[in-house]
């Protein structure tokens, strides 16, 4: 199995397409960093315009932690596309190239073959997130320094102390990895049904965009189905940045407001991953390879 995963990773990382995602993340974050470094003040003003009448905020709002949060908020919506670019190509790309039939005449069961491919996809996803973490967190910590993190939620604002933030990012990236693995497994499932990668990539993105819109719309009719959409749970990483308060309304350092909500979201995502992968194996085992 390890050999198979190695081979799949070898294939992934020998293809130019793979590096598009890494380059895209680097470029996007680079642009955000450049912009904020150059004109961060105006951005903060813009950001604070809605709450300035309620709260006076003093201090270095635009520090590395804040920039990382901004980056994640903006980027994590688009990373699925980069994941889909590779995940949705995993099987369809081979079918298109004509290598799938050759692969499958080798003495490896289809289940193992598919699992190895999926593992490699997950490895790619994780590497992409590690790269995102390096660029968005560590590089920003270097460029902008660290300080307290001031966040605006829709109902309240949160202030996290400098020494109470890093661990939240570690967990947030972990959660993001889970969310992106869900995207990867969906793309992976779709990649079984086509003989070119465009279809599955578009299908994956369409589902995500469609579900995200449903998740965002605050229309009562849709509220009932929201908990069942995996996209609703994909932003669960933000929950790590909500702190609990005691009776005196004092934030408890090191606490999370809704750990149960994170857990629930994580479970929903894991169930989706298992569901998608199981479905993929089930389909693939019976599939006639005509490519």
């Amino acid at each position: 199995m390890w050999t198979l995963i190695q081979i799949e990773l070898f294939k992934i990382f020998r293809r130019p397409r793979t590096y598009i995602a890494f380059a895209a993340i680097t470029a996007l974050i680079g642009i955000i960093q450049f912009g904020l470094k150059l004109d961060g003040e105006s951005y903060v003003e813009f950001m604070m315009r809605d709450i300035n009448s309620s709260i006076t905020v003093e201090g270095k709002i635009l520090n590395g932690y804040q920039v990382c949060y901004i980056v994640l908020q903006v980027l994590l919506v688009h990373v699925p596309l980069l994941i889909a670019l590779v995940a949705a190509d995993m099987v369809s790309g081979e079918a298109n190239m004509g290598t799938l039939r050759l692969m499958l005449t080798k003495p490896i069961s289809r289940t193992r073959f598919l699992l190895a491919k999926f593992m490699a996809t997950v490895a790619y996803t994780l590497l992409l997130l590690v790269w995102l973490a390096v660029m968005a967190l560590f590089v920003n910590m270097l460029i902008f320094g660290t300080d307290d993190l001031f966040l605006m939620k829709s109902q309240y604002v949160v202030l996290l102390k400098e020494n109470d933030i890093f661990w939240r990012y570690v967990w947030a990236f972990g959660f993001a990895a889970l969310a992106m693995t869900t995207v990867a497994s969906l793309g992976f499932l779709f990649s079984l049904f086509a003989e070119n990668s465009i279809g599955p990539i578009v299908a994956t993105m369409s589902v995500i965009i469609f579900f995200t819109i449903l998740s965002t719309l605050n229309i009562p009719v849709f509220n009932a189905i929201k908990p069942f959409l995996f996209t609703t749970h994909m932003i669960g990483w933000k929950e790590f940045f909500d702190i609990r308060v005691n009776d005196a309304n004092e934030a408890i350092v090191g606490s999370i407001q809704n750990p149960d909500r994170i857990l629930r979201s994580a479970i929903v995502l894991v169930v989706h991953i298992i569901g998608f992968v199981t479905a993929a194996i089930w389909v693939f085992r019976k599939k006639d390879i005509l490519s």
């Binding site: 709260i55 201090g59 829709s154 109902q155 309240y156 605050n218």
Partner: protein
């Protein structure tokens, strides 16, 4: 005609009586002011606790700086500080610093076990944001125990002070501000959240309680050692 003269005379008496009483209170205020006036500047460490429904912040360490006549700065050490809008000027000195006022006696009251004189301060200047300040003054120690200020723009807020080591300078160990908070709400489109509405209701209920409090406990006062103006910029 006589009746007219009589009534004018009565009014005159009354006004004198009022002004005599007012004069009395101005004296008390001036005494308190004189006491505070000993302080040219100070800095102190403080622990700030913000108890506002829509703010979730941990207890923070702050540093406060004051310089006559009305420079005041609250700084958080290297971090970010959040203060609810409400024009909370966090020290007594600046409240009393106004010279142009009318002080009226309004009886006595008990604040935290101390007997106090109640004084109402009316700013003479119509343009002042402060409409009325009610001071609860501990006459024996010349300390302001409580102040309730009504403003045009920022509603009413209350400051309660307790004193300790630095009562000689009129500097409190602990100050508690209570005030009405303004509404806070951001559209979800901006915060990019899509959590379920059910949860929000309970949060919203919390927010309906619009009384906010900021509590600062002071320690390590450094008085009259000089503070450069740059601190207040």
């Amino acid at each position: 005609m006589f009746r007219l003269i009589k009534s004018i005379f009565f009014m005159l008496i009354c006004s004198i009586a009022v002004s005599v009483q007012a004069q009395d209170m101005t004296g008390l205020i001036n005494k308190v002011k004189a006491k505070l006036d000993q302080v040219n500047d100070y800095e102190a460490d403080g622990r700030m606790k913000t108890d506002v429904a829509f703010i979730k912040a941990p207890v923070g360490k702050v540093k406060v700086y004051y310089k006559k006549p009305n420079k005041f700065r609250l700084k958080k050490d290297g971090g970010i500080s959040l203060l609810p809008r409400g024009g909370v000027s966090v020290n007594m000195n600046s409240i009393i610093a106004t010279t142009d006022f009318i002080a009226l006696a309004a009886g006595e009251a008990n604040v935290g076990g101390t007997k106090t004189k109640v004084v109402k301060l009316l700013p003479a200047n119509e343009n002042n944001d402060i409409v009325l300040t009610t001071l609860y003054i501990d006459e024996a120690n010349l300390l302001v125990r409580k102040a309730v200020t009504t403003t045009k723009e920022n509603g009413t807020y209350e400051i309660e002070m307790s004193y300790g080591q630095f009562s000689n300078y009129g500097l409190p160990d602990k100050v508690v501000f209570s005030f009405n908070t303004k509404d806070y709400k951001l559209p979800k489109g901006i915060t990019l959240e899509f959590d379920d509405t059910e949860k929000e209701l309970t949060e919203a209920e919390k927010i309906r309680n619009k009384k906010g409090r900021v509590e600062i406990s002071y320690a390590n006062y450094v008085v009259n050692k000089g503070i450069p103006d740059s601190v207040f910029k």
